[in-house]
Symmetry: D2
């Protein structure tokens, strides 16, 4: 393992409530303060808030866009990467991350949770999807109660996992 910074993805909806935005901004700030590179989907709502929080703390935050140009992307990104690949970009967001934090979220976030779990990336959830299956015990998502909690768990789990492990 190198001394490379941890990369943490933060996923959540384009249309977010005031609480979700506040949570995401705090998560971005705390991740940046911990020296992590933040990866997100690069658009509005939770994505914009996490970018704003990370940028305000002087951190690096990368937006991986579904679209083929930069329209609609957050103003707070260190680098803005249009993939032109639509929802397949969700696979890149979570593949790039040592762990993933899901904040609330709609179907896009659900797909990122499934992709992350499939790739063996730990997923920390804050008020997000609950997943269960007939005949299966337990919850594959580590549940956090607060943004601070989510960041702490994501950093701990990332240390033991991810692309460098």
């Amino acid at each position: 393992m190198s001394d490379r910074p941890l990369h943490i993805a933060v996923c959540g909806p384009h249309e977010a409530t005031g609480q979700e935005v506040a949570w995401a901004e705090e998560i971005g700030r705390r991740l940046a303060e911990a020296g992590a590179v933040v990866v997100c989907g690069g658009y509005g709502g939770v994505m914009d808030a996490v970018a704003r929080g990370a940028a305000a703390a002087g951190g690096t935050v990368i937006g991986i866009l579904s679209g083929s140009d930069r329209r609609g992307s957050s103003d707070h990104l260190t680098a803005v990467l249009p993939t032109g690949m639509g929802e397949a970009r969700n696979a890149i967001i979570v593949r790039s991350a040592d762990s993933v934090i899901a904040v609330s979220g709609e179907y896009g976030t659900l797909s990122e949770m499934g992709l992350a779990l499939k790739m063996g990336r730990p997923v920390v959830g804050l008020e997000t999807w609950r997943l269960s299956k007939p005949g299966r015990e337990g919850d594959p998502v580590v549940r956090a109660e607060t943004p601070e909690d989510a960041v702490r768990l994501a950093l701990e789990l990332a240390e033991a996992s991810g692309p460098d492990a």
Copy 2:
């Protein structure tokens, strides 16, 4: 809308129980008998069984592989397409489909359900993931009780949706 055949994706785990295999084979057969093109992930378990069922009924079944060559793919595919894109190929499987049937499934199937719902593709589930979120009512997945039921629902929903709609 053209007179093009409906394309239906069938998703499910690589390691499947005897019942899941039997269900998948029946689903493949019934879809082929209805004239649908079947799309799947192209490997073993549910994927192989749905291909075998479709092929036995003289149907067309396409395997969209995560790997960069054809190793490990089912012997029952009309065309075998290695994408070399890893789990991002899940986005292609569901993008190609007018509706999606999920049979049981692990995290890969969960990601396909999330991606399909995000893209507006109807999802029919047979003994698969249950999805819920705090503050959200209802289940976005249409539940089937039998393979016959799953195929009927998938074809009905596909008529009103999908890439041609």
Copy 3:
């Protein structure tokens, strides 16, 4: 190597001359007569012509679309797979093939030639891009003079290469 049919990709421009269309149709027909699965980009021009030729001979021809739905795709495809991934789908077209035939072509075809060569897929060219680099000898593309020649070379090269080799 299994008894699976060879998969041959045919690449070429959306806007094609009469001669290019005639060539592509003959290539599609000859590939289908040889029992190969034909893979193409699924839209107009050379793509539509190769699909028409293959379909007229009773063959299987798969269209892998850049778009996120089936609009604008050829009517002659056995299966129509919208990827929603833009030009990244060019990587899938050539990854799926045991060898690639390039007929004339613009920048999209050029990218497919580069991707195929990078992946080790043999490329047969018919009146297509000429590639040279300072300090480098030879032409990585096998040149054909006629459609018949192109099909013969592509099948021979595919036997010794491709995803199953």
Copy 4:
């Protein structure tokens, strides 16, 4: 157009000569000094050199990897993004850029040139592939004679083009 920094992709081979490495390092440095975000493939050779040059000048440089983890990537990257998508990641590298500089290069670089031209991204070439086609006049690649020249041309062309234009 926002006040967002220009994003410039630099493409070139994994195995590079001493001159190519020196060129790439100078290009990275000059791009960083001009305030551009540098995007590259993230591995060795030209990719590592451009990252080293950009990092030494305090710039931001993003590595978009073909692999599914960070193994083999340059130590000089601000963010390291494994895509797990193989060569399809070449489409993302050039899609993310306002213009592209190709330094020498093998087939991967050739594919990036084709993809960039197809997407309408200007391509500046330094001792790289020459492209010609029967019946077609002119060279779609803007030729540079020196690294300084390449950077100047890439920045000029990016101003008038790219994802923000």
